[in-house]
Subunit: 424 residues, 4 copies
């Protein structure tokens, strides 16, 4: 196994890190501002977590992996929190059952804020405490991991609250309650001015390199950078839109088993699914109209926006219906580089919807997990999941990488998951 210190050899700029830490923690807090205490406590399904749990767990991460190691005379804020807010780190010890996170009304949200402030202050003290260069480098690497971890939970916090609100018959909006300072970061979807024609960009294939090259921050699952042999392929110039997906819905896509993987067909049949998550058809005596639940409440479907909240199964079936297929990870990464990685915020490879690939989530050749409990971060989930590439409209800025590998089961729909077509 590799050590984190080895992964970040350059001398750590602790001062910059401390400032970044403060900013990141404030950004999380800002996301909670529009919410009631009660919104923060409830768990809408086992896959989702309460907002309060996100706030506490990300704090637990810093307490457990940085303070416990680098703080002199470390004392836990509350001994029970070690179990309560441990997500899945068996190396740290027991965990409160995931499906019961929503029963934890105590500590209250107020107490969790106290927890956060306490850990934040102690982190700042650790930042200014004298450390050997080696320890400083190691700590810097762990803090950086914690900050990216915090960003992941910023995105999950939004997708989880969207799911919770969608189950409320009052369909409450998330944003309209308050004006947020950074509200533009929290918008859902980027309204395309006008949907451009879909073009097919050709690639020659051959031996290509994929994965992270080791400069800057990365998760272990993005490494090692390695070669793959890729056949010639074409990639769609833009994402599949809601309007295009609606045609699939209305032309019977969910009624034709021949379009679906067998497990996908069984799943949509069992759950009576006939459209993406959050879509609904309002029917009156005069007409019917498709609507979608968004972070801004119930809205008419924005046909030119990229389709979101579809499962791998739905993406795969749509692609077959459209005479295409999903790309592999290597194809996606190759095409994304070509589309202009230097300016990746300006392409729709990023910042709109995560894009399902046909690649099962598996270790790259030569992959080794980090040493210690943080080694459980990624590796142990590499089975029965599919990789999504890119980033979404609720991914925090600065959390985007060409080599980033997001992953979810083939049935997951509550993330901003969409697709880009490929062809052989």
């Amino acid at each position: 196994m590799k050590t984190l210190a080895a992964a970040s050899a350059k001398p750590a700029n602790i001062g910059a890190l401390a400032a970044q830490f403060s900013r990141m923690r404030e950004e999380t807090a800002a996301l909670v501002q529009p919410l009631e205490d009660e919104d923060c406590c409830v768990q809408s399904m086992p896959d989702a977590s309460p907002v309060k749990w996100h706030l506490a767990h990300t704090t637990w991460f810093f307490e457990t992996f940085i303070l416990e190691r680098f703080e002199a005379d470390f004392q836990p804020f509350h001994p029970a929190f070690r179990v309560l807010f441990n997500s899945y780190y068996d190396g740290v010890g027991d965990q409160h059952p995931r499906a019961q996170r929503g029963l934890i009304t105590r500590p209250s949200l107020r107490e969790v804020w106290t927890y956060r402030r306490n850990i934040d202050q102690r982190m700042q003290q650790v930042f200014v405490a004298p450390l050997s260069d080696e320890s400083a480098a190691e700590m810097a690497t762990l803090v950086e991991l914690g900050l990216h971890h915090e960003q992941q939970h910023q995105e999950l916090l939004l997708t989880d609250i969207k799911h919770l609100f969608s189950l409320n018959p009052l369909k409450p909006p998330y944003k309209l309650l308050h004006t947020l300072p950074n509200a533009d970061q929290l918008r859902e979807g980027l309204a395309a001015d006008a949907l451009p024609d879909l073009e097919w960009q050709k690639f020659d294939g051959g031996v290509v390199e994929v994965g992270h090259d080791g400069e800057g921050f990365f998760f272990d699952n993005e490494t090692p950078r390695h070669r793959q042999f890729v056949e010639p392929f074409s990639m769609a110039s833009r994402l599949v839109s809601k309007g295009e997906y609606l045609a699939f819905v209305e032309e019977g896509g969910y009624q034709n088993p021949l379009l679906w993987l067998a497990a996908g067909w069984e799943w949509i049949t069992q759950h009576k699914l006939a459209h993406p998550l959050y879509w609904q058809k309002s029917v009156s005596q005069f007409d019917s109209a498709w609507q979608e639940f968004t972070l801004n409440g119930l809205q008419p479907i924005a046909l030119d926006e990229p389709v979101a909240h579809i499962s791998f199964f739905e993406a795969e079936a749509y692609a077959r219906w459209a005479g295409a297929r999903l790309p592999t990870e290597a194809e996606w990464e190759t095409a994304a580089v070509a589309a202009g990685s230097a300016v990746h915020d300006e392409t729709d490879y990023f910042g709109q919807v995560w894009q399902w690939t046909t690649s099962s989530y598996a270790p790259y050749p030569g992959y080794t997990a980090l040493e210690g409990a943080v080694g459980e971060y990624n590796g142990k989930f590499m089975v029965n999941q599919y990789v999504l590439r890119g980033s979404s409209c609720v991914t925090p800025s600065g959390h985007t990488r060409l080599s980033y590998r997001n992953f979810f089961p083939a049935t997951a729909r509550w993330q901003f998951s969409g697709m880009r077509l490929a062809r052989s």
Copy 2:
């Protein structure tokens, strides 16, 4: 069907009723005082409801059954509440799914308090509005029903919050947070000074009369008063204690199938039950000790108190082990009368634990439900449930009657349910 008006023929004293209404609603509010907003939102299991839901549903009851009928120019407080806070009245319309009551973070608790205040004020206006005698009598009867309904939910609120807190690893106490004005009403259990010897009181049986005679308030399921033939029997002079039940636990009661009804044995086997709900054995290297979770937090088991939180199955098995049986409803009522109904607060027939009987919950001969949607109050639950008699330590004062029929499935344990033995 009988009408409510017919059930309450005497001229209504609306002024007294208005005062009683205010007092009852304040008592409910006092129960919520020790709780955080988050405590009030979460549902710990489908059988239990969030505190906030109790607050809103009892309000909905007055809005739907009194204001909608007797208020001039009635407008609903919020149109969606008619569905959201309808428990099970099909005659009123659709209901929000019971198991999803905990997902309703909006309306917030604050908004539900506003709802309560609004309905309370409008109720007071209706109380002083001019009404025909007939309408006044009808309204009085419905208000009285609503007040007893509110008391039922006061008890459920406490049993539900106890269940929620029991699932929290921090085992938070309900009472110690705040000093309540009427804290003595909320105590859990009546510590017996010393456990008296159990004596057997003999009854001759014959044709007895049971059920409510129609004076004062009653639920429809307590009527009509009617005759039953009862064989000679003996009744225990006091309730079964926790210490006595502990002997059953420690002498292998939960390991011997011959003591149990077949369905009870299957149930304890499947759920690995080996003691009452809320009991736990703390084991250290030095010793082991039985504890119980109470509204005051985790405590050593109070051996002289009446056993509580047992199911019908457990009560029935204990009785067999003890060489006795559970009483029937008619036996219980006969013995309770003899024990001194006029002073029933001074006997342990009331105010300690509900007492399982062997009687299935069924209509009394000639039973008819009330007219209209309130007719769904009791009758439609008369299957696969068993009757409990008496009242518990968290039953509001004034909610106790000799003929009162409480009822729960044979597996229910989260109520303060215990037992009194009988013999043929």
Copy 3:
């Protein structure tokens, strides 16, 4: 507890019993004649058992309760059978899991026939072996119990095979394959020549006696004979017909929650039930027609026959729709006596369909189970079940008694269960 010997004081006529034993065992064998080996092996649902299991379990009953006690040098036929074919007698030891009875392809049916022949021969030897009067009386009582037990399984064998065949898309008939010697005993339903008008027979009520008086054979649950107080009531002169029930179906009975017990409504909603078990509507482009699956295969519904295969919930809802109610056990027994118990085969109280009562299955006052493992025969099932009275078209002749108490959960439908209406 009472002993079986005490229950049968008269000197045992062992010779007659031996002949009765042979005849009864042959009647069971005759029922299996129309079946393939495979039909006898499969279990269609946990409530039902394979035919082969019925054959083996009834044999096990004689081996375990008679041979093991009265045969000199008893050796079990096969040691594993003690567990394999024990239904639910914890006093005898472990049991093969009920839901896995259908996995037992070995012993094969052929081997089970060998088992039956072996035990039958040994029983005949025991019948002629010298025994003290006391032992002979005890044995006679146990054999008699075993024969009535065998008759119960004859009925279950037919209802279970009907259920199995109903799930086969080929809808195979049971009878047409072979001509049975006693085929008229196995007919399903007694076609009423013409449906007589329904009349209401009035009863004065008062203190009545119910239960078995101890002459001849009875199950322990029918005793002791005891007094009950019954209010005046009326009883329908005949059973509810399929045609009458069809009107309930077609006039929206299954769509109106106000007709149903809450648990019944939840159950039919969850399972999407809209008619009795085995009914189906065949729809073509020209017309639609109701059919029912019978032991003679798929047939047009015989409208004048008594409705069968309805649950307690359906019977109870129908009664409410019809402005009536189900009778109690005591009412049913009182009316059946009046209808002429001496000639009970000529009334429709018997021999057509079991009739749901509103009485929960509970011990009669002073009930005690038999001593030893046979004491588990009845008592331990006295919870969450409802009593059916009478007998059905597939009840063996000689298995009918005025005091007979059949019992099933409120959702059971695969028995020939129907209803007779009552009114207060």
Copy 4:
């Protein structure tokens, strides 16, 4: 999509095919010889099918895909069989629910044998009927597919009957009942004379070719042959043995979460798994011994044989414990070629146990399914499954190919699934 005809361009030798057809069908029949009719009817779990269903479904395959197309005046043997014995071909129409295959006691086994004989005779008539060259080639390709399909079901028949018998407390053996002509083909496991030392064979990697080259028969999922880039790796010289796996069991492998994928740990915890399927520890007062259920009944564990009946999760955890990993498909195929494909029956790459790879079952680049309903053969299962390579001790001879891709979910254990280790 490609057509089957295109896949098999050479002139069809129909005579040889007819002989091969007869032989293959007889081999299936021989496998059933040791079984009782009842053994053939029961379904032990939804993943498994009754023997009778295998017999009928393989017949249905020839009737539907060959006779229906090439027989003059085709008439179905029985119209209901089209649905009853359709496994999963949506292009053919509806299917009887998979989990209810065991309820089909009719048609009886005898009738299914009649069905087989009828279709076999009609197939022989079609073999000698005049056909155009193109039709003959197309038919030959479909027959060849049907024969390989039959072989797959020969293997499943044995693994399914093993599973059924394992659930019977009598633990019946499959083989000892009768002497089979080809009994040596049905042996379970190849007892290694002595377990050779495990050696690591090194491979340089680079761009390799994998997949079928199109000569002879193949399934569509093995194509197209294509290039992959492989890093240098080492492959174990032999399979992991039962003795080696037992060390993992006894040294706490199933108790250490850090060895397992998260989903695997959750699965073994939920199902309380602590050893391979069919293993059991018999404990007496004197000693304890590991046994395994085999097609020859319960036996002491043969420590030198390859471990079998382990899931992907178990294989993956064992590999981690052993400081190694599972190979990818490309690594396995590369190493198997090097081990001597020409003589593959003499290596343990084949004929012992299927070997889990770390490769998710996915389409090869450029994969297209066959045209028509047979196109559903493979492609629609390419999700959430993992590829196994090689063949097992119950794989029919002639069904082995270097490029063969078997696939099962990560939890499947009832196949003869084992593993070979790899290292980077």
